[in-house]
Amino acid sequence: MRIAGKGLIDRSKPVRFVFDGVGYDGFAGDTLASALLANDVRLVGRSFKYHRPRGVLTSGSEEPNALVTVGNGAAAEPNVRATVQEIYTGLEAKSQNRWPSLSMDLMAANDLAAPFLGAGFYYKTFMWPSQFWEKLYEPIIRRAAGLGALSGESNPDKYERAYAFCDLLVIGAGPAGVMAALVAARAGADVILVDEDSRMGGRLLAENCEIDGVPGVIWVDRVLSELSAMDNVRLMSRTTVTGAYDGGTFAALERVGHHRAARHAGLPLETFWRIVAKRSVLAAGALERPVAFRNNDRPGIMTAGAVRAYLNRWGVVPGQKVAVFGNNDDAHRTARDLLAAGVHVAGLIDSRHNAPDATGFPVYKGAMVSDTTGRRGLESITIRSVSGEDKLATDCLAISGGWNPTVHLTCHLNSRPVWCDDILAFVPSPSGVPGMGVAGACSGAFSTDRCLREGAAAAVAALEALGKSAPKTQIPDAEDAPYAIAPLWAVPGRGRAWLDFQNDVCVKDVKQAAVENFRSVEHMKRYTTQGMATDQGKNSNVAALAILADVTGRAIPDTGTTTFRPPFSPVAIAAMGAGAQGKGFAPERFTTSHAASVERKAPMIEAGLWYRPSYFPVPGETTWRQSCDREVDMVRHTVGVCDVSTLGKIDIQGPDAAEFLDFVYTNTFSTLKIGRARYGLMLREDGHVMDDGTTARLGAHHFLMTTTTAAAGQVMRHLDFVHQGLRPDLDVAMVSVTEQWAQFAIAGPKSRELLNGLFDADLTDAEWPFMACGPVQVMGVRGRLFRISFSGEHAYELAVPSRYGDSLFRTLLARADTLGGGAYGMEALNVMRIEKGFITHAEIHGRVTAFDIGMERMVSSKKDCIGKTMSERDGLSGADREQLIGLNPVGAVKQLTAGAHLFNADDDPVRVNDQGYVTSVAYSPTMGHMLALGFLKNGRARHGQKVRMVDHLRDLDALCEVVNPVFFDPDGERARG
């Protein structure tokens, strides 16, 4: 029911929305919960386990009951808290966990079976027979118990990630938070003020109070307008700080689109923030807790603070005859506010015998509410006192069991809150989060005056730590009412008294857990499900552990709390994964020949972040093998062009560059002549192979190293480590130039013919022998030429600055075309390197030594190098090692597969008989059959023997002959000639 003239809603802006198919009217500024209550809709959901009718309990993000699904189809979002969701025209919300409808829920039969469904019922009832669990029990339980369901469709909404930095992060914009922000902002600090509500002000929006002689709402709006005019202040409403992390880092979820009628094309639905703050002030307020008593979960029963909030902020009373029940002075505020608004207050039940008096409504001192009636909403309560039991007709009961400071964020770095007997609640431990101060209700200061003072003091402390001086600030005048409270967690009596409304946990469930020796609070939580799911027991955890403490004969502080973990309130996976959905922000690296390759219809394959052409199909080719075989044949007989820019290129310069290379490579580079390149092998310090590649000497103090594409980052990191961490005495500097140079292989018998004409002078064997390198002028561009070969053919690699790459690639292809050659891709490149027995990371996979690949003689005995000492360990060389070998299939064409294992021909193909494995395979058009590289125990001594290749996964079994891994041109005459 709406009260005329009350509330902060905009009555000039009516809003029409739909709940469970029925249209209702509200106003701008309403939440779904306030608008439903204004329309006298009390039943909004069914409970998780027993399907009991439930109504709105709170007015904030801690709401356990009023969870709804908003929207339709793929965009439907389940478990939205009606107390947080703002209404907009066209909003469609549905209740959850009911069938077929909210008012007639057949699953409510669960409630009749309640004696069998108590704490631990999952574990006890459905123990056997075990096969029944999967087939029978679980599906039934899953259908009956639960919250909202996902649509099962791909989420069409946009989510974003964002980053912010500040001197001071203030969490919560109630009186303490805005005061802290004001003091810090006036001192010139960069301030971010964050609040989860759509409107800043905290309890000042919900209370009937004055600050400096004006209503609290007016005071806070004035402060906020001063703050919003300042350049050093950022105000973030609808933003929940969900976690505190190391180093002043905070996660925050901003609801950007949930309150808008239409999805805005340019805006995300939510933004997940990472905020880094030098200091922070937590002013998160407090959450009110109900009292447990029989049937305390009927729609119409709410926290007293929520009733006040609905009245003062939204102009809504959730009933005609309201009763109030509490154990503290704050409950009396609710009764007074209702009375002042002209609402009939049926009575105030205060468990304290010394409760204050009141006029305008009866006060039942030393009394408690012991039971309620009303099937789909509250109709009456039973009041128990020393003089007996009375029934009181009421349709709304406001309960206050006291307030729990919102300590959550102070505990995210593993700190535990401290019990405070004065307010019967946990308060933050002083050193919970480094750099964080706490102020206001979240530190246990409940009066407005104390909130303002603590907020200002927290800002002054933060400013001091930031090295800024704080201007003198006048604390505004505000109420400083005492908060008198007496313990009352549960009203004794029979029947089910509810603690955790969301998970249907009763007082007797907690007692049962203790009886069954689940006495630790963490065990009790798991056994009863107390404090799980979307609200994480924000209303109920403290009461549950107070009851556990009582049953187990311990004090509350000795019982302790469960662990507080992020997030403070639910965060959609989509928000956390923003930027990572689909391709998202994953970087892509394109070579300069990318466009030309795509034009030629080359399928591009990923190589790390790079994209490389798989093959270049020509008309008539229908399979990759046809293209690949043609390209291999082309390179072996005419000429081919291939982009090899993705190989790592590291420029190394300095007087000690040669000595540095001698230390990182197993072989010697100080003896390398200027204008020559050499193959180099690099070990890890544990003696295994790290990477290989050629390094060219461009000058006395200037080398250019190449690495494999896969290990380019690792090698760069390694070189920097060896230099900075082990040999800072060496005068050498290095930088990656992979992206600065476009480099192309020109391979095949006609490679020289292709290149002649591009340079100032023709290439000759005398000037450009195998492994020569040096500067060239490529049609007026300064480039570099290397006579190196990864195909085994007479070949060159030509490098130019990247901006000329596209042009050079097209030029090279045009010239290749006239010679009967063309482009080749990764498939052909791989086939040719296997034919030549050249290794890649398929072979040097991390467990392989120089000995294993037959390169032990490359580990120079004349000098130390990384990995040398450990490579000489027993067991890293010798006949027991699996050594690199080639394999030819014996007999008719046989399929060979990488990953298959090798066995002696007569052995069972089982693990204990394992002799080695296959690392690379290819069909060789040059040899006319399949080839494989692999590792075989004592393999170099077994050339000519037959072994059995078995692939248990693909069910293959083939006899192979062990051969020299260099299948083609073993003496290397083609590359040198």
């Binding site: 180093g247 760069m716 920097d720 480590f721 900075q724 961490g725 000492t869």
Partner: protein
Amino acid sequence: MRITCPFCGERDRREFYYQGAAVALERPVADAGEEAWDAYVHLRDNPAGVTKDLWYHESGCSSWIVVTRNTVTHEILDCTLACDTKSEVSI
């Protein structure tokens, strides 16, 4: 977690590559013997408290940094360039 690179200032830890214990800086001489090499390559302390480890500012200036931090409180106590640490040790 925030690491203060001596060159770049305080940066998010995601800009850094984590390597492991700063023991890696104390490379034995080639003939130091099996025990010394085993300790260097394989043996690492796992302290509850202060530890020194190596971070590489891979998305920044490429510096190797010795980070002294507390594994219990996650407090970062010191960040020094590996090359500076190394020079002190060798001299």
